[in-house]
Structure formats: C-alpha cells, structure tokens
C-alpha cells in the first residue's frame, strides 16, 4: 500500500453523526473527549441555511458535547468566507436566523448575491433585484441547490430551483458552497493548515459527506446512524475508506490505525 501522510485533521458531520435530532448518539460525547487526546485538529461541519453557529453550539452544548464556536464550519461560513475573499457586498436572500453569521460584512450597495432557503425572499420583486445585480456582473453564491425538502404538509421547493432560474436568466453559473462541493471541504480545512490528504471526514450521508470529502482528496468514514440506509456504501465510487457502526467506532479506528 502506498505510504499515507499522517492524519492531522478530522471533520465531523453533526446531525446524523454526533447526534440524531435532539438526542446524542450513544457514547458520542465520550468518544469526542478521546479524540481530543490525539494530535488532530477537529472541525464540526454541516450544511445549513438557517442555523447560525451560535444556534448549533447551543444545541451541541445542551447535548453534552464540549465544542468551541470556532470549531464549527457550516455552508453559511463557506459563503461568508467566499464573500470576504472576493471583497464583495452581498444581497442576502437567506433566512433571518442565518444573518448573525454574516455580521461584519457590508450589505449596502450590493455587488453579489447569496441564495439560501428563504421562501420569504423568493417573490418576484426580490428575484428581479437579484437578477439585475447578477446580469450586471455580481457573482451568484448558492448555499446549496436542494431541489425540494419535506415539510409536515408535503414537499416544498428548495433554493435549487430559484438558483437555476437565475442562472438561466443571466447565463451564468452559481458557485455552490455547501456539501458535497469540493469548495466546502477545502474551505473547512482552510485555517487548519492541513491538506486534504491529511484529513478524514466522518458522516452519515454517503454521497454528500463521504463522497464529497473523498472527491476533495480526503478519506471518508461512513457511519450507520442518521440517514444511513443499508448498502449506501455501494453507491459511491470509490467506496468509503471505512464503514462502521457509529461515531465512537470511527474514533476508535482513527486512534488505533490512522495516527
């Protein structure tokens, strides 16, 4: 087997991996403590369009996890980083609850458009505002392009269709920053000083967590909790580096075999 670079960073998905809705995965808090004894940088990563880092931190702390806010990286963070790199001022079509993650970024006289899941902003007037900015050269940044999602009263349109409509009208392509895009994983690692080859991603979504991470050059560990369904590991190529029961088993493997 070819020599592997030493493991220096571990990315951990949140919902479905560390916890499932409002219950922690059994043994996960203890497993995290053990992982912290290793010489690795840890990042907690998730796609979200309406939970600020503060909200996520609150929930994780309530569930007994010892986590610092700056260890959390979300698709909103990825969008923010991109805005800062490009030095642009966004028109934010995002849920109000997501706004705290954009504090400090100027929004007057916008020259960029950020689209998250924000039905209250997807009316004709606002869409036209976004359209005109993009037609005039403003970059279009999509938190993700989900087609639809499940609500109590049925399926509902996600941000994807609106992003697609804007792309068509302006003949441009959005930069999508959420999982499974490469950008997401590379941005999550930025600031850790680690290359993808020195990192592993632990998650329950075979395509978006493990597939996306491996496409970015990382190794991926698929856990059988959350949205995992039997034979998910057969759906990506190459297959996950490892498939195991849950987060605690993934941590054991890392401590035993990857350092």
């Amino acid at each position: 087997m070819a020599a592997r670079r030493a493991l220096k960073a571990v990315l951990v998905d949140l919902n479905g991996t560390l916890h499932v809705e409002d219950s922690a995965v059994p043994g996960a808090q203890e497993a995290l403590k053990r992982l912290r004894s290793a010489p690795v940088t840890i990042r907690f990563v998730t796609n979200t369009t309406k939970e600020s880092k503060r909200d996520l931190l609150e929930r994780l702390t309530r569930l007994g996890f010892d986590i610092a806010e700056n260890e959390i990286f979300t698709s909103l963070t990825a969008a923010r980083n991109l805005l800062e790199q490009k030095h642009v001022r966004p028109l934010l079509l995002v849920d109000d609850k997501a706004l705290p993650d954009f504090t400090g970024i100027g929004t007057d006289d916008p020259n960029a458009v950020v689209v998250g899941l924000a039905p209250e902003h997807f009316h004709y007037e606002m869409m036209n505002r976004a359209f005109r900015l993009i037609l005039d050269g403003a970059p279009l940044i999509a938190i993700h392009k989900a087609r639809y999602f499940k609500k109590k009263d049925g399926l509902s349109l996600g941000p994807g269709p609106f992003v697609t409509g804007l792309e068509y009208a302006t003949d441009t392509k959005a930069t999508v920053v959420g999982k499974p895009e490469k950008t997401f994983f590379l941005e999550a690692l930025r600031g850790t000083g680690c290359a993808p080859e020195e990192a592993v991603m632990i998650g329950d979504d075979c395509r978006d967590d493990v597939g996306g991470a491996q496409d970015a050059g990382m190794r991926g560990i698929l856990v059988r909790t959350g949205k995992y369904r039997p034979a998910d590991e057969d759906k990506i190529n190459p297959a996950p580096y490892l498939t195991c029961e849950s987060f605690p088993e993934a941590v054991e493997h890392i401590l035993k075999s990857m350092l």
């Binding site: 039905p119 209250e120 997807f122 009316h123 004709y124 007037e125 869409m127 036209n128 359209f131 005109r132 037609l135 087609r147 639809y148 049925g154 399926l155 509902s156 349109l157 996600g158 994807g160 269709p161 609106f162 697609t164 409509g165 804007l166 792309e167 068509y168 009208a169 302006t170 003949d171």
Partner: protein
C-alpha cells in the same frame, strides 16, 4: 445594397421591444414604430404580430396597442395562449394555471378541474413562492409530469428595468421536478409556422423583426425566414456578438427596418 430586404411579401413583428416597451403604467410606444406599422400596411405587405406576451387577453392587448396609436387588430395577432388551448384540447389535458390574472379568460373554454398538467405563463407578481410551490406539487404528484411553458424567454424590458421572464421559472420547475417543459410560443417552430400560415406567406418570403436574439431572431431563422435584430427593447450590446445567432441585419429600430425594406420594393 440590403440583399436581405429583397423579395419580401410579409413581415412578422415581435411586439414588446419593437412596437412598445411595457410597463406598470401601460407602457410607452417606441419612437417611429406606429408610423412604421402604418407604412407597412399602406405598402401592401402582409403583417402579423408574433408575440409571446401573456399578461393579457388578445382583445385587451390589442386595445392597449390601439390606444398608443398602433393600427392593429386581433385578427393580426399570433399569441401563445390560443395555441396552448389547441394543444390542451388535442391531448385531453386539464391545466393547473400559473399565469397572469388577466390571461385567465383565454382559458375560459378549458376544463381546469382535477388538473393533469401545469401551464406556465409570464405571471409577474403571481410568481410567488406559494404559487410556484402549488404548481410544483401538482407536477411532483404526477407519474409523468407535463409542464407547458408559454415561451421560454430569459427576461424582457419594462419601463422600469429588466424583468425575469417565464423561461426562468420554467427552468426552476424543470430542475425541481427533473422534467422537460414543452414550449408553446416563440421560438417553437410550430408557433412560427402557424403565424406564416395565418398570414398566407411562405417562410422564404417573410422577415421576422424582434428584440430577443435567441427567441425572435434565432427561432425565426430556424424556420427558414430572414430575421432582423433591433437595438430597442431588451437588446444589449453583447447581442452584436452572439456566439450562435447571426441576424440577417441589425437595425436601430422598426422604423429603420421598414425604411430599408420599402426602399427595395
């Protein structure tokens, strides 16, 4: 001189961006266009308004144009809603309509109960999240979703700026449902051919004049017609170098086109 202007028997005119610019106030006629229409009719050339406008019935649409000084009548208009009704009746389709309120009367004769397809028009303010979601739910609930789009334009010009056209929302629903829409209206061949048939002119004898380089000009050329791009309406300088469409000529406006054509007669 202008070779493209020879042997013409009929003109197809796009309306928005060629005759007038639409707007909340009803719209503003484009300089020289009303006079140009009069000259076309006086010359003996056949005239057809070939429009994708779906924010009003043909009657009200023509009334508006007449109010602006255009000498036109309903019998000279080829528009998407009647063409769509044909298709709905042909195929036993009952539509869920997501269209401008003022277009609904065009569908008065159509059975809209228990819909088995969605018809999408230029709904403007009716393009709310709730309305789009409703249309989406009708489609996603069908085994084989049928989405009929009245045109596929990207945007159009109104007096207060450029606005998203039906095409953007067609693409949104196509993406959401993983389905391909059927387009009724420009640039569909069937639409142009029906306009020519209604006019009684062959493609080789006709010229289309429009402001949308893809849907007016490109679409018409694909039917064997000549087509001119005007520099009014939604025209943008980047249209002078379109990667796919080469208009037979660029003209500043309808008046200039008619000057050149009548000179050749």
């Amino acid at each position: 001189m202008a070779g493209w202007a020879r042997a013409v028997r009929g003109l197809l005119l796009d309306v928005s961006g060629v005759l007038y610019d639409s707007g909340a106030d009803g719209g503003v006629p484009i300089a020289g266009s009303a006079e140009a229409v009069r000259r076309i009719k006086a010359s003996g050339l056949k005239l057809r308004l070939c429009t994708n406008e779906t924010q009003a019935t043909r009657e009200n649409f023509v009334k508006k144009l007449q109010g602006m000084g255009f000498d036109v009548s309903v019998s000279e208009v080829t528009a998407p809603a009647p063409a769509a009704c044909h298709i709905l009746k042909e195929r036993g389709l009952r539509p869920h309509l997501l269209v401008h309120d003022d277009l609904v009367p065009e569908f008065a004769e159509i059975d809209k109960t228990n819909p088995n397809c969605v018809v999408l028009g230029d709904a403007a303010e009716n393009f709310t999240y709730a309305n789009l979601n409703e249309a989406f739910r009708v489609l996603i609930g069908m085994e084989k979703p049928v989405l009929i789009s009245l045109g596929r334009g990207r945007y159009y010009k109104e007096t207060d700026g450029l606005k998203l056209d039906v095409g953007a929302y067609m693409k949104a629903l196509e993406y959401a449902c993983d389905v391909q829409a059927e387009v009724v209206g420009k640039p569909s061949k069937r639409f142009f051919e029906s306009a020519l048939a209604e006019m009684g002119v062959l493609a080789e004898q006709a010229i289309m004049i429009g402001d949308d380089i893809v849907n007016d000009v490109g679409g018409a050329q694909q039917c064997g017609m000549r087509a001119l791009q005007v520099r009014t309406g939604k025209y943008r300088p980047s249209d002078e170098n379109h990667p796919d469409v080469k208009p037979d000529a660029y003209v500043n406006n309808l008046a200039e086109a008619v000057d050149i054509i009548l000179q050749q007669m």
